[in-house]
């Protein structure tokens, strides 16, 4: 019997739609850290993700992740605040490939367009750079509802 994929098609589409993504990691003293991610790609197995960060964030991220692989991604669509939390474990990192650049920039652009809907003009975001990027691979372990309000923090069904 086929098992239900961890990430549904609908959720995958949401994760690919161009979101505000904050990745939380931690060090050995349980001090949390965070970094913006510019794009995400759900793997075909629906159980793994690749998340793309500005390459300048890589040293801090990898310092934490290589010793402590736990990672959390809060993914939020600013205009509606629909949001979810992806918990996972770091599996690998690499430089983002040139073939991935168009998709990273598409998602970053979609995010900026969504910000325009809530009154943040594109002129304010022109300085943000998503390339060169570093790709962080992770295995998804849990998914949580994170749209603010009652029920936030409940496991996603």
């Amino acid at each position: 019997m086929a098992t239900k994929p961890l990430i549904s098609d609908e959720l995958a589409n949401f994760l690919h739609s161009g979101l505000a993504i904050m990745a939380a990691t931690r060090d050995g003293a349980l001090q949390p850290d965070g970094a913006w991610a510019w794009a995400a790609r759900v793997h075909e197995d629906r159980a793994h993700l690749t998340v793309y960060f500005n390459a300048k964030d890589a040293p801090g991220l990898l310092r934490n992740l290589e010793a402590h692989p736990e990672i959390a991604l809060a993914c939020d669509l600013p205009s509606s605040h629909r949001a979810c939390q992806v918990k996972g474990r770091f599996t690998a990192s690499r430089r983002a490939r040139p073939a991935e650049r168009a998709e990273i920039e598409r998602q970053a652009k979609a995010f900026v367009v969504d910000l325009e809907r809530i009154g943040i003009p594109q002129a304010m975001t022109d300085g943000w750079k998503c390339w060169p990027s570093v790709a962080i691979e992770l295995r998804v372990t849990q998914l949580f509802e994170q749209t603010p309000g009652p029920g936030t923090g409940e496991p996603m069904r």
Binding site: H81, G149, P150
Partner: protein
């Protein structure tokens, strides 16, 4: 370390922030925050509204990191934090609670979207994320210079404001002077003043400036929106980025409705801009008595600063005393004799061109309201007053009236103490200007006025 004060704009709720925490078992968590509050040079506060994962993590491990964005440049900063305490009362808690509940009441979420505690954190370090600046570098200095250039509350401006207010001899003139000087001297283009209405715990808008629809007579209950919250708490409230905070509150409302925790639509229509970005509500207090509420709005985010709140809170006390003194003086001077020339108001403007050759004014006794040609005009005491004036005009050709005579008229059943007659007359006069310019109430000196009809009026008494 970068001084927290220099990041004041980041603490206005204009751009959401992010909170990263970590559970004792090593699982990190990230969550969006609608607002980070500045407490002092070494502390910030986060609202605790739901028992969520972040809160549980902080209970287990007090370390946290917040990422904030500067609203003028979208420069990102990382604040390393250590949880210190949760406050459930006191000035910090109250200021956060009032802002959150004002937003909640706009979204129909009062009682659901509420502050449980103000979580205070010590800021251990502030690090700019140098490669995360949204505004291109060339524009950053310009944006910062524009922010620094704003200095509205100079001594000269305050003196001018005071002079204008002191010249007003009637409540009507005083309210106009307040709104006019707020715009001309301080640049606040949209403002309104609400005074207590006839019903307890309700305010009525008596004067406004800068709105396409005047809205005179609009009512606000205590606890409704920023004005109602200011009236209820008797404390000023400033909201700097309404749109984004409303988006957050609306997301909560949607979830609450899906779970049957709040009815479909509890939003209350309130006077003011349809979509304000900044709001500042100031209680007008004399000792503990609420004389009214001044509300200033703008469609620009972060138009109203903490400095504005502080200055206007002080001015609010002054305005409240001015309003109360003007009312007392008006009543004391309610003589039947003509006033000295220097106290006479300027000649009224020429009446507007007649729009209708004949109007029907209908008085509905049961509902105590007046309709003109089938359109609602006014209710309550202003309706009783207008009906009385029109009836006396019709039966006795009376055109000149005094407040004193109205106050003594038993048919109006005014309360013996604090009858609000002056504010009711202002409300009536302004409603007529907005909805029925064919009937005018023209001030004719302190405590007296004329009724002017610029069309044929048919009176109809209905049950």
């Amino acid at each position: 370390m970068i001084r927290l004060e220099s990041l004041a704009a980041c603490f206005q709720g204009l751009i959401p922030a992010w909170l990263c925490t970590c559970a004792r078992d090593g699982t990190p968590n990230a969550a969006i925050l609608s607002h980070v509050d500045y407490v002092d040079a070494r502390h910030i506060a986060l609202s605790f509204q739901f028992f969520n994962k972040s809160k549980r993590n902080i209970d287990e491990n007090p370390q946290a990191m917040v990422r904030i964005l500067h609203p003028d440049t979208l420069q990102s900063y990382a604040l390393r934090l250590r949880f210190v305490r949760t406050e459930t009362e006191g000035p910090l808690f109250e200021s956060m609670r009032l802002r959150i509940e004002a937003i909640a009441s706009y979204s129909g979420l009062k009682g659901i979207f509420k502050l449980l505690g103000a979580d205070v954190y010590e800021v251990l370090s502030v690090t700019p994320i140098v490669h995360e600046v949204g505004l291109p570098r060339a524009a950053v200095a310009k944006a910062q210079a524009a922010g620094d250039a704003r200095v509205p509350f100079t001594m000269k401006a305050l003196q001018e404001f005071s002079e204008q207010i002191q010249q007003a001899t009637t409540l009507d003139c005083l309210l106009e002077a307040i709104l006019e000087t707020l715009e001309k001297i301080f640049g606040f283009r949209q403002a309104m003043i609400l005074l207590p209405g006839e019903s307890p715990e309700r305010l009525e808008m008596i004067a406004s400036r800068g709105y396409p629809e005047g809205g005179v007579g609009s009512e606000v209950g205590f606890g409704e929106g920023i004005i109602g919250m200011v009236a209820e708490a008797r404390k000023p409230i400033r909201i700097a980025g309404m749109l984004r905070q409303m988006l957050y509150a609306n997301a909560v409302a949607q979830r609450a409705r899906e779970r049957g925790l709040c009815p479909e639509d509890r939003r209350i229509p309130l006077p003011g801009l349809a979509n304000p970005e900044s709001q500042l509500g100031i209680p007008l207090l004399v000792h503990d008595e609420l004389v009214g509420v001044l509300c200033i709005e703008s469609d620009e985010p972060y138009r109203l600063h903490e400095e504005d709140r502080a200055y206007l809170e002080v001015l609010g006390g002054y305005l409240a005393i001015a309003i109360q003194n003007t009312l007392l003086r008006e009543r004391a001077d309610e003589a039947e004799e003509p006033l000295p020339a220097r106290h006479r108001p300027p000649a009224a403007a020429a009446p507007p061109p007649v729009r209708r050759a004949r109007i029907e004014v209908a008085h509905y006794r049961t509902d105590e309201c007046i309709l003109v040609d089938g359109e609602y005009l006014v209710r309550g005491l202003p309706a009783k007053l207008l009906w009385k004036l029109l009836r006396e005009h019709e039966t006795e050709a009376q055109v000149e009236f005094t407040n004193r005579r109205l106050r003594l008229d038993k048919s109006l059943a005014l309360p013996a103490f604090k009858d609000n007659l002056e504010s009711r007359l202002i409300l009536l006069r302004r409603r007529l200007e907005e909805r029925c310019p064919e009937i005018r109430i023209v001030p004719a000196g302190r405590g007296r006025f004329r009724l002017e009809l610029n069309t044929a009026v048919t009176l109809a008494e209905r049950p």
